[in-house]
């Protein structure tokens, strides 16, 4: 087990190293780039050259990469050129991370809390109206562009009915103590209940919007996997033992059906990160996704580089954790 983890961890480091090189070379081989980003409208050729020299961008690529790696090993990944000029790119990631974590966590909770029970029900009632409706609506949910969903959600819940805030993470003027950067948790930790409640209200719409895709996936995989398990001989054995429906559902069906769901949930972290780019943009959610979107548009390469690498690292790491969890909960792997 430990071996498995170490092995995967080493693999991960390798993958990330290669990725860092690819991203570095790729970013630098594109037009535009930091210089144009920094200069803006008032640029001239002379200023351009001066800047390139000042930044060492006139050096050959391998030299630049080596310098980058040297600095990277010291934890210095360069500073933002556009998103938050002058700010350490890694700091940007770190300050933005809690927001994205909070959002993704709630989205995942929603996706799981809805996806698994509905998936189970749909599988149990395969072919009925309930099944068809849920399947189709999950597909529709995936196909509706996030900004459209978000617009509707905001329009009705925030503007028309005034139930929830439109965007942002916290009401203006609310003087809340920050501990972890996860606002809801902070509110709870410091017992500033109004702050926690306020943060929670801000979370609802974006996390619902972000949850659509993971929900659909969790729902579908649960349904498929429950259908598979229902066909399994051991469920028939359990039935033959005369066990109660509850025991069969919980101990025999769901427990086994959850195994593939666990892996899927890990893979959903990728979807969450991708989705965060859109969701955070439309909800002015100051998270990693929004920084990514800004980085893309403003060609802030140092920030992009850090964020892409970090996203990859998180993704790979989470999946590593998921695999380990899986191995822990599946005795067939655990007891090898």
């Amino acid at each position: 087990m430990l071996r498995f983890a170490v092995r995967r961890l080493l693999q991960m480091v390798g993958v990330l190293l290669v990725l860092s090189f690819l991203v570095f070379v790729w970013l630098r081989s594109l037009p535009g780039g930091p210089v144009s980003a920094l200069l803006g409208e008032r640029q001239t050729e002379a200023r351009r050259e001066a800047l390139e020299q000042a930044l060492g961008l006139d050096q050959p690529l391998p030299v630049q990469y080596l310098r980058f790696m040297q600095r990277a090993f010291r934890g210095d990944f360069g500073v933002s050129t556009q998103v938050l000029p002058g700010e350490d790119a890694l700091d940007i990631f770190l300050t933005r991370l809690p927001a994205t974590l909070e959002l993704s966590f709630f989205a995942l909770v929603i996706a799981i809390a809805l996806g698994i029970p509905l998936g189970y029900l749909a599988a149990r009632r395969k072919g009925t109206a309930l099944d068809t409706t849920t399947v189709i609506s999950s597909l529709v949910g995936v196909a509706v562009p996030v900004f459209f969903t978000a617009f509707l959600l905001k329009y009705f819940f925030a503007v028309e009915w005034n139930l929830l805030p439109v965007s942002g993470r916290q009401s203006i003027g609310l003087d809340a103590t920050r501990v972890t950067g996860l606002f809801v948790l902070d509110g709870i930790l410091t017992r500033e209940w109004d702050a926690a409640w306020d943060a929670l209200k801000h979370l609802v719409l974006p996390s619902v919007a972000l949850a659509t895709i993971p929900f659909a996936v969790v729902f579908r995989i649960t349904r498929a996997s429950v259908l598979d398990v229902l066909d399994e001989d051991y469920v028939r054995t359990a039935e033959a033992k005369g066990l109660t429906a509850r025991v069969i559902r919980g101990r025999h069906v769901l427990r086994n059906a959850m195994l593939p769901v666990v892996t899927t949930v890990g893979l959903q972290v990728g979807a969450l990160l991708s989705g965060a780019v859109l969701t955070e943009t439309v909800f002015s959610w100051r998270g990693v996704g929004q920084a990514l979107a800004e980085g893309f548009l403003q060609k802030d390469y140092p920030v992009l580089q850090v964020l892409i690498m970090a996203a990859a690292a998180i993704y790979v790491l989470v999946n590593l954790l998921v695999d380990i969890t899986y191995a822990l909960i599946d005795p067939r792997i655990r007891t090898r």
Binding site: G32, A143, P145, A271, S274
Partner: protein, 324 residues
């Protein structure tokens, strides 16, 4: 084939006699001299009765046909701006329906209906080409990995690992965002790239399955040349799940294209409309003129649904577990 004349109880007869007996019986059993029914055909026969598949198929076919005939069907050139003079940025930014323009125009005075119709062409093209390129790349990599074990396999799978380590849409964003001159090809390439590792891994998996299968072993033992084994036996059989996946990916590709366009990473040239792009362009009007976003969104949803329904039922039909 009723045994009018009861056969004598079996006894030791000559080989020739018995062979003749068997032949007679079998010839009668399979009297039809027609050619056989391939797996695909028999899957189709099953699918033909599956309402989910039929709905998906109907949607898909409708839109494909629409895409093909759209240029003739569309009342206006999608790039022409017949309603331009009606536009006033404040009072009338988006011309409403009027005779000859049942859905009105867009914010550049172009006929919305025509754009929607012709949009099916571009949208499907982006979807199909992205999927095709993704498939091509994935199949190439997957074939290399699956056909040659050893270092070629390891190398390919490491490449795939690297590609997979970036969340898919994020990778697409990156590619599209960093393109030097954005066009619909950027979009296609971005989406295709994302699909490559997925197809590659899928294909490799099923190629490995094929590799270990008895019929490939049989071909080997027959002395069939290695390349023929790969291309005649392994690849065609391994391709099944990949094709099914491709149908599903088509839907995803169309949705992803919309997401990219939303982020402003799509094709800036909108003379040949594409739904994702129309949707992205409708963003500023969400508040005042939501129909501008609604129509393309609805089209995307329906088409994506069509492909997904088709893909899912195909998957089910080809899945040996559900086959009875």
């Amino acid at each position: 084939m009723t045994s009018e004349t009861p056969q004598p109880p079996p006894q030791r007869t000559s080989y020739a006699d018995r062979r003749k007996q068997r032949l007679d019986a079998l010839a009668a059993a399979s009297a039809d001299e027609e050619g056989g029914v391939s797996l695909i055909l028999s899957a189709w026969r099953r699918l033909r009765r599956n309402p989910v598949f039929l709905v998906g198929l109907a949607i898909t076919v409708t839109f494909v046909v629409l895409a093909l005939v759209a240029p003739w069907l569309a009342p206006y050139d999608p790039a022409a701006r017949p309603l331009l003079d009606d536009i006033r940025p404040q009072s009338n930014p988006v011309p409403g329906p009027e005779p000859g323009h049942p859905l009105g125009g867009d914010d550049k005075g172009r006929d919305l209906l025509s754009r929607l119709l012709v949009g099916s062409q571009q949208t499907l093209m982006v979807g199909v080409l992205a999927t095709l390129f993704g498939l091509l790349g994935g199949v190439t990599l997957g074939t290399i990995a699956g056909a040659f074990a050893g270092w070629a396999d390891s190398l390919v799978m490491r490449i795939v690992d690297v590609m997979l380590s970036i969340p898919s849409l994020l990778l697409a964003f990156t590619i599209a965002a960093l393109a030097s001159s954005p066009s619909q090809w950027t979009l296609i390439v971005a989406i295709a790239t994302v699909q490559v590792p997925i197809f590659a891994r899928l294909l490799r998996g099923s190629m490995l399955g094929q590799r270990a299968s008895d019929h490939v072993l049989a071909a080997r033992s027959l002395g069939v040349k290695p390349h023929a084994i790969v291309f005649r036996h392994m690849l065609p059989n391994a391709l099944g799940p990949v094709i099914v996946q491709a149908t599903l990916v088509l839907a995803v590709a169309i949705i992803d294209a919309a997401a990219l366009s939303f982020l402003g990473l799509g094709n800036p040239d909108d003379r040949r409309p594409e739904w994702g792009q129309m949707l992205g362009a409708a963003q500023p009007y969400l508040g005042q003129e939501p129909h501008l976003a609604f129509y393309p969104a609805a089209c995307i949803i329906v088409v994506a649904l069509g492909f997904t329904l088709m893909g899912e039922s195909l998957r089910e039909a080809l899945d040996p577990k559900t086959r009875r």
